[in-house]
Symmetry: C2
Subunit: 640 residues, 2 copies
Amino acid sequence: MASPVLPSSGVLSPLGLDAVRLAPGFWGDRATLNREVIIAHCQEWMEKEGWIGNFRGERPRRGREFSDSEIYKMLEAMAWADHPGLAELADTVAAAQEEDGYLNTRWSGDRYTDFEWGHELYCYGHLIQAGVARLRMHGEDRLTDVVRRAADHICGRFMDTTETCGHPVVEMALVELYRATGTERYLEMAQRFVERRGLPALGDITFGRAYFQDDLPVRRAEVFRGHAVRAVYLASGAVDVAVETGDTELLKAIEAQWERTIARRVHLTGGLGSRHSDEAFGDDYELPPDRAYAETCAGIGSIMLAHRLLLATGDVRYADLAERTMYNVLATSPALDGRSFFYSNPLQVRVPAAPPEGVNLGSSGGLRSPWFSVSCCPNNIARTLASLPAYVATSDAAGVQIHHYGTGEIRHGGLVLDVETRYPWSGEVTVRVVEGGDGRISLRVPPWATGATITHRAPGESATATGPGGDARVSREVEPGYAVVEGAWRTGDEIRLDLPMASRWTLPDRRIDALRGSAAVERGPLVYCAESVAGEPSLADVSVRPSTGHAGHAGHTERVVDGVVEIDVEVMLTEQGSDAWPYGSPRGAAPEPAVADVDADPQDGTAAAGTAKAVLRLVPYHRWGNRGPAAMRVWLPVSD
Amino acid sequence: MASPVLPSSGVLSPLGLDAVRLAPGFWGDRATLNREVIIAHCQEWMEKEGWIGNFRGERPRRGREFSDSEIYKMLEAMAWADHPGLAELADTVAAAQEEDGYLNTRWSGDRYTDFEWGHELYCYGHLIQAGVARLRMHGEDRLTDVVRRAADHICGRFMDTTETCGHPVVEMALVELYRATGTERYLEMAQRFVERRGLPALGDITFGRAYFQDDLPVRRAEVFRGHAVRAVYLASGAVDVAVETGDTELLKAIEAQWERTIARRVHLTGGLGSRHSDEAFGDDYELPPDRAYAETCAGIGSIMLAHRLLLATGDVRYADLAERTMYNVLATSPALDGRSFFYSNPLQVRVPAAPPEGVNLGSSGGLRSPWFSVSCCPNNIARTLASLPAYVATSDAAGVQIHHYGTGEIRHGGLVLDVETRYPWSGEVTVRVVEGGDGRISLRVPPWATGATITHRAPGESATATGPGGDARVSREVEPGYAVVEGAWRTGDEIRLDLPMASRWTLPDRRIDALRGSAAVERGPLVYCAESVAGEPSLADVSVRPSTGHAGHAGHTERVVDGVVEIDVEVMLTEQGSDAWPYGSPRGAAPEPAVADVDADPQDGTAAAGTAKAVLRLVPYHRWGNRGPAAMRVWLPVSD
């Protein structure tokens, strides 16, 4: 089957690219953009920057020490997308492989001298993932041969050492290669890499060992920590090892770490990471909107991890988080034209700013950049969009589960289902039976969709007794989780899921200091934001009253602009204070609560002079930054 | 005169170490600790780490590319402190100087090949400042000879180029050397370094050119930006150049930049810098308490800059900020025993944590570190504490101004004043005339000291008509600014300033997102904080009601513990919520304001079950972290 993850056991089994097809729609359009624009964009830039030339032996070598991995991520994207350019690029890569299987354009004679920063095993990991994709989509070829030789080299070199790589990924890659080939020592090697980390296996670095999760053995940790991409890649590998070896303790440990992380260390968008200095999770409840790092690749890694945990456990919460991250991180990074990307995905930008010209040497900028000196994100986007159908649906002995909604087709057993929806703009999802069969159909009801209903043929009716249109139909309210419909399905049967899509106010847990006194707007799986393009009030001046917007959503007006739902909210406008010392005493000695009532910035109830009402347009967060430099904020201050 | 800054013109003239003496007391004790412990501590570590050995030609060279500058900062401290070890260390340094005056243990044949990161001119800057200190405290010797040769080398090499250094400091150093020697080309060189920056003069770097203030010419900028230490060092040099060349436009530009910075980019402590990744100012109002960088050296640079601006303009606001920064940054960094230091001075620490063992490779840790791989802060503390008397008082044609209060002696003209005070614990400051004379005495009244009074001999009385104790005395309220007393002073005359010292609530400007809905406690010049040592409630659970604490300071109880004023405040305790998704909808559809009322964390007014009252002990911020690992917070959440 054509899927990036094919566990040999677990509560749910994935349906791969051969079983799920995405037609035009939110994700289908992005998959097309990926095939037609993003992959070519990545290839052009990696030629221009010399990263592909490195494999041809062009010198001086160009790019960072891990640039080989970017070519491999793109090769993986090409494999999933059946891209015609793959073979030639695979030949280029193959030519650089050494006799003993070693393959790296940065290191050679000095191989394996810097495990902390060398990224050699990290590069192999991505190479192997590309090879697995090729094997599953196409079968053996030169690329898969390169990959096997590299994997054999790794096992030979590292099976009996205590070494590992500063950046995890080789773990999950080796497990998947085991799954794809049946070669057991790949699993053994992966297991050893997972187990030896944290003993510790690496040297000390400026950021501390938690940076690469070498502070504690994986199974002893309580929360994800350190570099966010490293953390979720490692956890993904640990889940894979746990599933294949039947290591329940390890699986439970990752589940517990995930649960604590999601409660304390995740941004509203699903973005992970709060520190720029080391691209890391911060402490519990350290979730600044302006300095949210929320690296695109950490979001992708989180989707990968959630998918693995969903397969292993069947717990809907993993699909819920994956959806949130797909719509608000994965969909946010690429520009609408597919030619520039966000590396970091903050929830607030105060100063409208374009990124530096040319290659972005950092991750900064309030606009997307065409390329980065560390360009993991565009290639990671490419391979994820190319394999996205594999995340949509799963199966078990009883039937099929649909976790993510998009117009397209799902096949399982003899059953062929057509899905039609304008999700996430509309909450109406229609599943039409094209070819019938027996089995349970489960549709995920997201946690925000209270009052959802499902409508289908009455279960008492025989599958063949009445024709389409003549059925007795039942409609019932369904709780968040999975709406389950049993049936002997026949062609023409329809199941309709209605997810309530009215916009809603969202408030933060009081322990999140950086969000105190602010509120956000969500609608369906989408987080919304205000963007300071021409005509909008200055974002420094607005505040909201979420209480007025709650009951019946008073104060919210939805409008559809080019197929996108935008939301107008009523806001207060407060005049800017003066430029004085910005800390002051509460005004007056009376015992009224005078919290926002600072000397430097008078705005108490009596002085309503400085406050006026206005309307603020909110757009889906994933759309922001497509109209030029702008200020932006997801969390809006609450008026007193 | 023995002062680090001796401008040839300006509204106020400094009184140096020969005119101001600090006796035991808040700062006098720290000066003693510096002389007896801190300087020796720095010297021991720099021997141990090999940074001094580098000058002896020991190889391999050890330490970062700028480690020479640390020896120079310590030499400056030794010069101000008349330390007996100076001569030997100066000889060691002198031996490493090349024929043409070049001096750097990191670079030599490859000199001046990396202006962005090489730090060669930065090192010279600190060398020159040490030389100026030596010249003014002692006169010419081998160190001052080394310094002149180095300065001549710089002028020869750089007068007619477009180059400058990635880290400013040489600008103010050269101006001061001009002031100390009269050699005009040092001033000319400093002026050129100031003017050529931002044209631009340096290459592009990952952080962007604003990092080293090379994005704009100094006089065209509107606010301090980029690396905070670099920004305030450059501004200090620009003020020095402006003052010596009569460049009013340049001086006004720095004043405007300071004003905007202080209104938008300064932490309550006076600390500067909000970003760890590049040790930089963030955007306006980006002032996170937990990730406040507030580097010790940026605070020191801010004191240096404020002192220069005070001398140039006489504006009390510069002394006000200097005081805030002295008590809450300069006094915070060194441990009470003088053997460990904070590099970064955040306003909140969530997780009690010790720094890494041994040399701190970063700036992290909720406890002070004995040494850092970048150890600017301890040496900067040393040279600042050694020269602190020079910041205390100034003079003009009319008399003397006392800006900072500490027990000690001040001499100006024939006048000798004894100052006696327990400031900052008490607001009572007594200035006693030991040797009489004519002249105006001005005492700074800080902005928080509303209701301050000054008491002194009635101005109508003849200075010799009545004896001490028999005078008619007047007492009057004085506004923040300077309380001015004119007189013909005689021995035994007394002026008493009473600054109200009751603790007060402080609220942030509403534009500071990270502090919304929180309040701090200050008392006099001191910022207070809660520290989670044994017995205190968990800082994650507390909230305050600043309104109840305002009128008559209800709810605050002061107590003196070992001479330190601690403050008890009444707080609410809220039970921890569960570990669920930390974002939720407002509870209930009713239109009441339900802001902190999140599903995941029920705590609305009706459910007061989870809330209890308790007492929280606050300690001066500068004292925190002396009792072992602890959580800490300056800003306390306000209860709904």
